[in-house]
Structures are given as C-alpha cells and as structure tokens.
C-alpha cells in the first residue's frame, strides 16, 4: 500500500503560498519520509523552485472564495480523493509544520478516515474558541488521513455536496461564517454521513499558532515565536502556523 502526502497550494496576490509550502515540505521529507504530491496552478508553479522529491500537478483552481475580503483558494480539498495518487493519503495545509513522526504513526492505523476534532491556541489566549459558534461538533480539516475506500469516497462526495449548497448548510447548522471553510464543510459532511453521531478522530489537539503571533526563527526541530512581549518555543511537536510570514524567516 503506497502512502503519501498531498498538499494544495495556490499563491494569492497577498501571500506567496509556495514559499510556505517549501518550508512545510522540507519537514515532511525529514519527519514523514513519504512521497509528496502538490496540487497547484500554473501561475504558482511558474514562481516555484521545485523540489526533486515532490510531484507537482497543475489544475485550474476555483478562485471565487475570500477571507477577510482577500482571495482564499481553498475550494479544492474535497477533490483530494480523486487527486491523490496514493492508497493511503495524508492531506495537510501548507502551513502545518511537522516536527514529529506522529502522522506517520497514525498512517499505520486501519482507520479509513481520520481528522482532528480539537485544536488549541499555543499562546493560550483562547484565540480559537470563536470557531465553536455553530450547531455541530466541529472538526479541523487541517490534516486528513484517508484510504481509498467506498465509505471515504462518500465522505468526499458529501463535502462536494456541502460546497455546492454551502449557504443552505450554513443555515441548517446556524453557522454565521458564510465564506466557504473546509473545517465546516467537513464537519457538516461527517455529521451527516455518520448519522449525526460521533466518528473516529485523531485523539489529540492541533497546536495552533494564531495569526497575531510572529515566528522569530525556525529550524528542523521547532519554532520560536512572539506575541506582545512574550517569547516562547515549540519543539518536536507539529504546529499549525496561521501567520504565513514565517516562510520569510
């Protein structure tokens, strides 16, 4: 069974996501030692110094979603089942930095679909609690681990359906945030596919560095970050870094 990592990466006028992806992919190679496939577009690829150990696939991505009024190219993740060339796939955000072997261990489990249902703010100011303003158990689509089974195909089909009728589902689950967001789309799909009951999850919480935290330095083992006058460190633990400026450090 071939395992691999799938990353979606599309530059926007504001953020050179391919630079963020380069940082993430270097860590994937070091800690997970798995082949990488990048789904990107021609415009992004033209700027990219490509890694020899990664496979780059170009598509024409949808570009009609925004976040805080800026372009947000996140509409393709529900296609991961079809885009992935692997039997067992880890899909991760470009800004998820692997500093441990955890995902590799989880890849060896038999669960055909795994996702986190918890994330926490590493600065412990509860910056992520607003994410809970909905009527369904939230999941975090930052990392997905899946096998190509018929059940998993149905999950991705359900996410596509949610994407197609997103505003209807937001009304149904009383979600105020109306721009398309994969966390909500997967949460709604999982909720429906699983008959409104709980499903298997990755049993830990995603360490998340909020957008207002600045990464001061990083190496192969972790990051130093700052918020206000506080400086702290995360090492040997995977971390989801929301401030994309870390790619320039």
């Amino acid at each position: 069974m071939q395992q691999g990592v799938l990353i979606y990466c599309f530059d926007t006028p504001q953020v050179a996501y391919h630079r963020v992806a380069n940082a993430s992919m270097a860590l994937v190679s070091k800690y997970l030692d798995l082949p990488i496939t990048v789904i990107t577009n021609q415009a992004t690829l033209s700027w990219w110094q490509q890694r020899p150990d990664a496979n780059y696939v170009t598509i024409e991505n949808a570009s009609n979603n925004t976040k805080l009024g800026l372009p947000w190219h996140n509409l393709e993740r529900c296609e991961a089942f079809d885009h992935s060339p692997y039997d067992r796939t880890i899909v991760m955000d470009v800004d998820y930095l692997c500093f441990s072997h955890k995902l590799k261990r989880l890849c060896d489990s038999a669960h055909d679909f795994l996702i986190h249902d918890r994330a926490h703010d590493v600065s412990h100011r509860q910056a992520l609690t607003y994410e809970r303003m909905s009527m369904l158990p939230l999941v975090w689509a930052t990392v997905l681990i899946f096998s190509k089974t018929e059940r998993v195909r149905r999950i991705f089909d359900a996410v596509k359906l949610v994407r197609q009728h997103y505003h209807h589902y937001c009304n149904l689950y009383r979600i105020d945030y109306r721009n398309f967001r994969n966390d909500y789309a997967f949460a709604m799909a999982m909720n429906q596919i699983n008959g409104y009951h709980v499903h298997d999850v990755i049993p830990d919480s995603i360490a998340t560095l909020p957008n207002d935290c600045q990464v001061l330095s990083r190496d192969d083992h972790g990051i130093h970050y700052q918020y206000l006058n506080n400086v702290n460190t995360i090492t040997n633990q995977d971390v989801h870094v929301l401030n994309k400026e870390f790619a320039n450090v």
């Binding site: 590493v122 298997d200 830990d204």
Partner: protein
C-alpha cells in the same frame, strides 16, 4: 516589592505556565501509538489496565482511543510498546520541564 517587580514576576509565571501547557500537549501527542491497526494512548490507565488483565488472561479485549474493541492477543508485546511510548514522552517532558524550571528568576 514594587509594582514593576511584581509585573515582571507575574509575566515570568505566565510564560512558564503557557510553556508547561504546551509541553503537556506535546506529551499528549507523543502518547499516541498504533497497535494492530488501532490507535491507543499510552497513558497510565491503559498501561495499568493491560498489566492487570494480563495477570488473569493470555488474551483479552480492550477499547482503543475511539472506543472500538480490540482483541489483545500478545499482551506482553503490547505492554512493552505502551511503556516505551509513555516513558519516551515523559522523558522528553521531564527534560523540557527541567529547562523550564531553571529559567532565571
């Protein structure tokens, strides 16, 4: 103690508390282990349960981290895996915690 000194102490305590929480969350992630295709946490409850059950049975059933039943056919090997994972996580935590405690007042 003046107000500035108090504030400095308070800030340092806050930083230590945040760092400790993050170290604990890292340990929680490190406790995750996969045995016979199932995900377990190598926590004290799991270790103690396995240790107790293997005194009475050669094989037994256990719930994984998502409450799915798993037959444990080789408890000795499973226990060794759990202990290794748990001690590795706590050893890392212990080392980081010592560094944290030695932060200058």
């Amino acid at each position: 103690m003046d107000i500035n000194e108090l504030k400095r102490h308070s800030d340092l305590s806050f930083d230590r508390a945040v760092a400790k929480k993050n170290l604990l969350s890292r340990a929680e992630s490190e406790l995750i282990t996969v045995y016979r295709d199932h995900i377990f946490r190598a926590d004290p409850i799991t270790i103690a349960t396995v240790r107790t059950l293997m005194e009475h049975k050669d094989s037994f059933f256990l719930l994984d981290a998502n409450s799915n039943p798993v037959e444990i056919k080789d408890p000795k090997q499973f226990l060794a895996q759990l202990v290794e994972r748990q001690q590795s996580a706590l050893n890392t935590y212990h080392q980081a915690y010592q560094s944290l405690r030695s932060l200058k007042e």
